[in-house]
Amino acid sequence: MEANHQTAGGTETVSVSFLLNGEHIQLNVSPVMRAVDLIRGELDQTGTKISCGIGRCGACSILVNGKLAVSCLLLAYQLEGASVITIEGLSDQDEVHPIQKAFLEEGGFQCGYCTPGMVMAAKCLLDSNPEPDRQAIQEALSGNLCRCTGYGGIIRSVQCASSK
């Protein structure tokens, strides 16, 4: 972490720099700002969602240095030096990621609000275990809640993505 700063209003800020989906980010933030608010607010990357705010639902899941993390329980300054991947980093305008394609084709979403976090959790799983069994799928997605699908479509999506 770099030196602390004082803003005009007298509020203390800290500097943070990290890679967001490959792009270098450097800015001053409040030391109590959550990573999710930095991503959704300051950086306007609203694919990452906020739902419970206490790390229970996984809607705000992101990858920090390749590991799955709930961004509502991370402070923004904790991203210092990290490589962060959010849902926006998985696809470009034309081409969707194979996991996203599987979610599309197998009905892995309905309202879509848990989907970015769910896709990140699935990516984290498949990156380390390309052919997960039932137990591995249940374990990897157990931190992500979905209220719409009953998980049937999500399980089929992950199975479909894993066989590709």
């Binding site: 609203t46 599309l104 719409c148 009953g150």
Partner: protein, 751 residues
């Protein structure tokens, strides 16, 4: 085969879709709502001076700042927008703040000083009904009474070989939509207001907001889709009035997005009910008498409490023909939050009780429960549960047969390899009315246009909460018109652009889209072909609509763009009502769907934990419009009901929420559900049926709880009468009966 991908799919899986809580505008302020710390209290004074002085605060509003009606509620506006004298639950709003940051708005709430004089808390319907209880509303503590009687109940009971009486308790369920309530309200330069907040009925919100703001409806635009889930929970107004008042008072866009704690504190929930059923059966296995009392805890305000009780009363005897029925229901005001609209709408509660009765009665006379259901089930030409004519289908028997086949296959394999575990199988069936019912305004409608750019625009006043109405509209429109999905554009969720279609509730969306297309198709295609004939100089009879445009002899002669060019748009609209019974019986439904559910559970005798290992749902709801959407509704509904059965209860103590977030209110996670959910659609309808596909948004949630409950009985002999079924209850029951020590048979069902 190419899979049918939802029109909103790509934006959702890539995270690009902007939900209304994702929106940001320049100069936007952040709103926060101050809610009562007491479940029941008199307000003595409200002081906002200190909050107003906090730098960054731009507006603080109280009841004095409501220009129109200080009340909301879809039918009866009995809930104050901002309370003046009395607070009746811990979600009641007293003041609201707009500031330049969430943090400042939050800090400002702490600086608002409200003096309260606490009043006695009515934390149960029983307390509220006691003589001398304080009255929560001018007309007392009874929101609504409903009932239904037919036949001579006493003489029918006298003919019974067995009578079962049981009292069932069902919990307060949280919708737990992943996106909490929120959005942005924007004051426009011309003095109008744009409300970007999700809801299940944009026009109804506009109507309610106009009344509160003292503004003409035409000056309010409600952009209401998409939503991150609703399940009935966003049908009533939530944060809209506060955002609107703050936006008008500051002249700036105001964003409110409730935290999960704020959401749980203020939102409506499923009605807790206490249901006592006394049901009698004769020696031949025929149900003869069915007497029910329902006591619903409706909380502090009305919203749709009366209609929910009416619905529960109607569905009390389910798909069974019973000569004598006596049902009495009462919905009671308390200080326990607010109960209201929730997927299933009162049907879930009474079906749990009814199907519990059916299994108990079958056991009481030693009859196979499937056979008993078959003996009493309604047939195609039978009248509906309130004696009304209904759209005739054989759905009830169809789903029973389908479920019975699964049940017969699963039932014998009830032995568990693990000596500390028991497996059990249970089934339940139900029927569920769609639409709002007889005597309720239930208009629908839609509009089909050929726009100047050559797009065929189909528009409805329906909302996309996640259920997949966009996919339904795309499928039905392209199938009915014969065009391709690339030819159409879908418009929903914006009162300035769409026609009124009624609410996106009551499983009515899919059904009303289909009915609209039936009405729109012919005149629209006629106009298209007439114009095409003129443009091409070909006879109308030789032309048809196909992908891309107008076809003749297997070739596309004229694209839709060419057809549209340099001419006025072709616009066809329709307005009609949801079909109702020809019999004028208040609240009675006409279009029903049916489900048969088989559940298999594994009960751990050491921990009491219940694991649902299989869930099979058979449905009769007419033809499937969109396979993936249908499957998703039933699987998702089934798991939501699994949570209702085994996990979910918004616990309140003395009118305060004990469960405040998803760490104490647990909804099913991926480990809590069967890995392979099974859904079977029985699509057949009578040849003369012209009501098309029925909606399936609710039916998947109705009969799951009793199927699991009956499976628990099969596994360990516990008769479930209270939801959710807790491990402690299982352990207490199995210990009392010595199941663990094998001193008694653990498997009382079927032997």
């Amino acid at each position: 085969m190419a899979k049918k991908i939802r029109p909103d799919g790509k934006e959702k899986v890539t995270g690009r879709l902007k939900y209304l809580t994702d929106l940001a505008f320049s100069n936007m302020l952040y709103g926060k709502i101050l809610r009562s710390p007491y479940p029941h209290a008199r307000i003595l004074s409200i002081s906002t001076d200190k909050a107003r002085q906090l730098p960054g605060v731009q507006a603080v509003i109280t009841h004095k700042d409501v220009p129109g009606l200080n009340g909301f509620g879809i039918v009866t506006p009995d809930q104050p927008v901002l309370c003046k004298d009395i607070v009746r639950y811990v979600g009641d709003a007293v003041a609201a703040v707009a500031a330049d940051s969430v943090e400042t708005a939050t800090r400002a709430l702490e600086l608002i000083h409200v003096q309260y004089a606490p009043l006695p808390v009515l934390d149960s319907p029983e307390k509220a009904l006691e003589e001398g209880a304080p009255l929560l509303h001018p007309n007392g503590n009874v929101l609504h009474r409903a009932g239904f009687q037919k036949g001579d109940i006493e003489s029918e009971f006298a003919k019974c070989a067995a009578i079962v009486e049981e009292t069932y308790h069902v919990p307060r369920q949280l919708h737990a939509y992943m996106e909490t309530e929120g959005g942005v309200i924007v004051p426009e330069k011309d003095g109008s207001l744009t409300v970007y907040v999700g809801t299940q009925h944009g026009f109804k919100d506009r109507f309610q907001l106009a009344r509160i703001l003292g503004m003409p409806e035409e000056h309010i635009r409600v952009v209401s889709s998409p939503m991150g889930g609703s399940f009935g929970g966003k049908d009533e107004l939530n944060i809209q009035p506060y955002g609107a008042l703050l936006a008008l008072s500051t002249g700036k866009p105001v964003k409110i997005h409730q935290t999960r704690q704020e959401s749980i504190r203020s939102s409506i929930k499923r009605h807790p009910m206490k249901i006592t059923m006394k049901t009698g059966i004769d020696q031949d296995g025929r149900l003869r008498a069915h007497q029910t009392t329902i006591v619903a805890d409706t909380g502090a305000y009305a919203t749709l409490g009366p209609a929910i009780l009416d619905f529960a009363v109607e569905h009390t005897s389910g798909p069974y023909m019973i000569p004598a029925v006596d049902t009495k229901g009462i919905s009671v005001f308390t200080n326990n939050g607010v109960s209201g609209e929730f997927r299933g709408f009162g049907g879930n509660q009474v079906t749990f009780a009814l199907e519990g009765q059916i299994d108990r009665l079958a056991a009481a006379i030693g009859m196979d429960s499937v056979e008993m259901r078959r003996l009493n089930i309604r047939r195609e030409h039978d009248l509906g549960p309130l004696g009304q004519q209904i759209a005739e289908t054989n759905g009830a028997l169809d789903v029973l047969q389908s479920a019975a086949a699964v049940y017969a296959e699963k039932k014998p394999s009830s032995q568990n390899q693990d000596r500390w575990k028991r497996t059990g199988t249970g089934m339940a069936i139900t029927m569920h009315g769609g639409g709002l019912g007889f005597g309720r305004m239930d208009p629908a409608g839609g509009r089909l246009s050929l726009k100047e750019d050559g797009k065929i625009e189909i528009s409805f006043g329906f909302e996309e909460a996640g259920q997949g109405i966009l996919a339904v509209i795309e499928t039905i429109t392209t199938e009915q018109l014969g065009c391709a999905k690339e030819d159409i554009s879908i418009m929903i969720g914006d009162t300035s652009l769409v026609p009124s279609s009624g609410s996106t509730t009551a499983s009515r969306g899919t059904s009303m889209v289909w009915h609209s297309l039936q009405r729109l198709k012919k005149p629209f295609l006629q106009k298209l072909l007439t114009r095409a004939a003129r443009k091409t100089g070909t006879k109308e009879g030789q032309l048809s609509i196909g992908p891309g445009g107008i076809w003749e002899n297997g070739e596309c002669r004229l694209s839709f763009r060419e057809l549209a060019s340099e001419q006025a748009p072709i616009v066809i609209s329709t307005q009609f009502d949801f079909p109702v019974s020809p019999d004028p019986i208040d609240s009675a439904h006409f279009l029903y769907t049916y489900s048969g559910v088989v559940a298999q559970v594994e009960v751990d005798l050491l921990t009491g934990r219940i694991n649902v290992t299989e869930l099979h749902q058979s449905l009769s709801a007419g033809p499937v419009v969109n396979e993936m959407g249908y499957l998703g509704q039933i699987e998702g509904g089934g798991v939501m009901a699994l949570g209702y059965t085994l996990m979910e209860d918004v616990i309140m103590a003395d009118g305060h929420y004990v469960t405040e977030n998803l760490d104490s209110y647990l909804i099913p996670g991926i480990k809590d559900v069967p890995f392979n959910l099974q859904v079977k659609a029985v699509e057949s309808l009578p040849a003369e049926d012209d009501y098309g596909p029925r909606g399936v948004g609710e039916i998947g949630t109705i009969a799951v709880a009793p199927a699991i409950a009956n499976a628990i009985y099969d596994a360990v002999g516990l008769r479930v009468s209270q939801l959710p079924v807790k491990p402690e209850t299982v352990l207490k029951s199995t210990e009392e009966r010595g199941v663990l020590h094998g001193s008694q048979s653990s498997n009382s069902g079927g032997n």
